[in-house]
Subunit: 284 residues, 2 copies
Amino acid sequence: MKILRTHHDLKTWRSGQGEDVGFIPTMGNLHAGHLSLTEESFKNHKASVVSIFVNPTQFGPKDDFNRYPRTLEADCQKISELHQRYPHKEIAVFAPAAIEEVYPEGFSTVIRVPKFDGFLEGALRPGHFDGVATVVYLLFQLVKPKTAYFGKKDYQQYRLVKQMARDLGLPIHVKGMPIIRDAGGLALSSRNQYLSPVEKKDALYLFNTLSHMKKLLANSSDNAPLLKAYAEQEMKNDPRWQYLEVREARRLSTELPKKGKAVILGLLKVAEVRLLDNMETELS
Amino acid sequence: MKILRTHHDLKTWRSGQGEDVGFIPTMGNLHAGHLSLTEESFKNHKASVVSIFVNPTQFGPKDDFNRYPRTLEADCQKISELHQRYPHKEIAVFAPAAIEEVYPEGFSTVIRVPKFDGFLEGALRPGHFDGVATVVYLLFQLVKPKTAYFGKKDYQQYRLVKQMARDLGLPIHVKGMPIIRDAGGLALSSRNQYLSPVEKKDALYLFNTLSHMKKLLANSSDNAPLLKAYAEQEMKNDPRWQYLEVREARRLSTELPKKGKAVILGLLKVAEVRLLDNMETELS
């Protein structure tokens, strides 16, 4: 396993690989969710790159950039252990030693995807998705992967990156991967570790509510008004909800089609920790 | 000479060319300025593409998008005549038949270059440079040129495109070309034809003022305060000035270095027509 600390090292390593490279962009502090993406990449590609970069431009001034957990050694250990089951595959960890390895000095460009911004996470975190789209573009340029793997827990991010890659003509398949949950149903997240055991139990309310709403929707857009009323009542009763909505899955528009995919998205704040989750469901 | 009306036709044509392609993006209504870029491309490359596309996203709601002159037939005639002097070079005109040939349906990405926005043209035309950066990126993706030629009359645009191409890792040399002027000194522009003969004479005030300021600067940043005072007095006396400034040439910062390039930029409104001009000068 190679650990690459500069964009120069990454380019050198990359030039020795063929086209068949899978890519898992992360902010580190890896859990089973990240590892499921990495394993999928091992299965599908000759070579894989996991990037570990806490990207400053996607954090707002009040966000947790400084206290975001940085655990490079443990992360590399986990990737290395997984790699032992795929010994014939190439793996590199790109862990930039400085911000300038991703954003060169004098860098001054921002990529925005307005259609996926301004609502849900975009409304609550102004500028967040500009940071995401821009850093993903830059990492794509450095890694030049065939396929990039994104967890669907950050659903809006996944759809936005897919749109950006399409719009900018990047020859990269952006693949969304299922949410990994703990035994109770809580979606894995690096931020879960901020929670006490009692708060973790409270956090299950997010999963349980989404599950209940999925049942209420019962695969029919006819039930959309019912679901909307339910969500509004929920949010009124419990101020921990930051949003709770059902949307069409591809464009995240609020209009549900008769047929196709919908997604129920929620953000519950537990002990000041932002917990995101969602559930896709088919309308028929 | 090929005239290509769809992005599909362009891609087909492009796949038959090698790497050595020069590109001149224009909004049509070609004059000697555009033709000087085209001739430079003929001289330097085996194949050249002139795009003719009045890009809606760079016009504001009050701008002249609808009345912007569209003269495709005459434009092709001019390119064809120039081409007769370079008969062994390939030339294609990309004149998209519809906006969707450049912006595919559902397109929703914006490229911004904040450091070059928010002042001069950026302040007067909010969103203008987002439209410019985005369309230039898309055209670069379609044409995949080795070198792209931009007139320095739109100096801020030229610097912004150069920055964008660098930041986004595009393997394209963005080359700025000298302003072409009429006999009196008026910088050529498609918008000059909105002017009556008398107004054209008035418009020379722009060139004459910039020339005078260049003399005042006399290659020394020591004279910057004098120049600033002069410009402020000018703007106070004559409300036709929208801006009149001296800036460092590469980053367009207001701080002049002791040594290096500076640029004096002005925008004079004559009979509601926005006339841009600038002059580069060396500090030593």
